[in-house]
Subunit: 312 residues, 2 copies
């Protein structure tokens, strides 16, 4: 059954029962706007758009994977401020010949990712497209009384730490790009990330001075954080983990796995700086330090800007 056969309102009837529900939803989907309870008078808000062929491929990712990924990258941005995701809004441009089950599974993916966080899908939009699928997600979050942690607060003397996977998604993409479907763990990591959501508020509680998520690559996001804070950052790669699967895949593909660690995005690990002397509990692990100056140094050498530019 295609979307055009059941129409917009038929599709909405299929989608509504699949939406994750949050207790914070005072008015949910179906009205002009949603009404969401967010205590404390401050709302965290972020949006990301995913375009078919550019951010996902229908032959590499299931609809459910894409839903999880779209939710995860927005909820990760909320966590990277020290916030907790409360609500998502999902706008979707769909060709009329898309199968209804694909759309249902997309929303199952939103459900999978939102449920553990406690976020609900509170609203959205459905429009027809002649040119592939576009998904735009907005996440709203609560600070729960915490102060927001921006990218701009790192100070010389701070330690630099990460929480979550680094390089897994890039390794999975490299594997898929060469036509392989294994190692499964890396391929799955590319389909949707495993975001350490709780590490964000934890970092805020530990007194993190700056924080962001790693969406474009460790070095690229370190560079952005360093620039926003007016500092330099030094890291060593010995503290970053090349897993056995990553090492094997890199060997099979004839590439250096350290590039995945340094330049690979989309794992949505969290990156933060903390005052020296703060004892960092799991999942946070130290990878470097903040110094005076500018730029990012990896194992003592200035790093090239390998950041991804969408338009170049």
């Amino acid at each position: 059954v295609t979307v055009s056969e059941i129409g917009e309102f038929g599709l909405l009837e299929r989608i509504f029962p699949r939406l994750p529900v949050s207790r914070a939803t005072l008015v949910g989907p179906g009205d002009d706007a949603a009404l969401v309870a967010i205590r404390g008078g401050r709302v965290v808000a972020t949006t990301d758009m995913l375009v078919e062929g550019r951010h996902f491929r229908l032959d590499w990712s299931s609809a459910r994977d894409i839903g999880r990924k779209a939710a995860a990258q927005n909820l990760a941005d909320v966590a990277a401020m020290g916030g907790v995701g409360v609500a998502l809004l999902v706008a979707l441009a769909l060709p009329a010949e898309v199968d209804v089950s694909w759309v249902e599974e997309l929303y199952d993916g939103f459900h999978d990712e939102c449920e553990p966080v406690g976020a609900g899908v509170v609203g959205g939009d459905l429009v027809r497209s002649e040119n592939g699928i576009t998904i735009s997600v907005t996440a709203l979050g609560s600070m729960r009384g915490r102060e927001a942690v921006t990218r701009a607060g790192a100070r010389p003397g701070d330690v630099v730490a990460v929480a979550g996977r680094i390089g897994w998604s890039a390794a999975g993409l490299a594997v898929l790009s060469r036509g392989f479907r294994t190692p499964r763990a890396l391929v799955d990591a590319h389909r949707f990330p495993q975001v350490p959501y709780a590490a964000g508020p934890l970092a805020a509680d530990l007194g993190a001075t700056a924080m962001c998520d790693i969406s474009d690559g460790l070095v690229a996001d370190l560079r952005r954080l360093a620039l926003a804070s007016g500092v330099s950052i030094e890291i060593t790669t010995e503290t970053l983990e090349v897993t056995p699967q990553m090492r094997d895949a890199a060997q099979a593909l004839g590439v250096d796995p350290v590039r995945w660690l340094l330049d690979g995005g989309e794992d949505h690990a969290l990156l933060a700086t903390f005052p020296a002397g703060v004892e960092l509990p799991e999942p946070w692990r130290t990878i470097g330090r903040v110094v005076r100056g500018r730029g990012v140094y990896v194992n003592g050498s200035p790093s090239e800007d390998a950041g991804f530019d969408h338009f170049r």
Copy 2:
């Protein structure tokens, strides 16, 4: 100069100074997420996506018109809950060959529409597209202590009233579709709506029992409100205004202008029900009443469902 020539970060440098700023913005664009002050613990949130060729045409609308329209239709949804728009997030998929000035003017349009409301653009996303421009806007609003007015509260005995223009945008679209560029007032009304934003909170203060904006057509939105409230609605067309320009344009095109009033969307007028006896100040004007039963009656006859289905 095209977008691909200056790249993502060059484009952001052009966009940032053009963004409307709100005092409610605690952390603005450039970090993982924005932080917005919204008092009262309840956030109004809504999203709409506009696809090139479907929701706008580059030969009929300037970038500035499109920005105004995209902002307006979201801010109208906030007003239709009785809320006041505070913040927008704008996600944009752009072909690399789009001219930078087009993007700058799009944001000028957001600025034009947000400034009088007091809303800021607090965040967004820029992605590359191979297939035309897609704009996804999310609006956040504050209730400022008011109770939200949903579509579901209309009761038999209530009066039905509208605020704002009805049928103007449809008339403008009909004129443009036939290759004309005048009457200017109608064509301009199609390019971007004149939304009576203040009428939303005013209606909430007057005790409106149900409210929505008219995005798909008066009858279609009356039907939705009646269905959500479990009531029937009767209106008469004699209270709706066919302006002289509308009458002349309809005559020139050989169509009945009343169809524009009944089925024309995109003016984003507000539609509300009020307890009988409430004195309605400008810009609210009565067009009918709520009765027991179901469906919508126009001049005593049951109306056909002429609502727009995006996928059929």
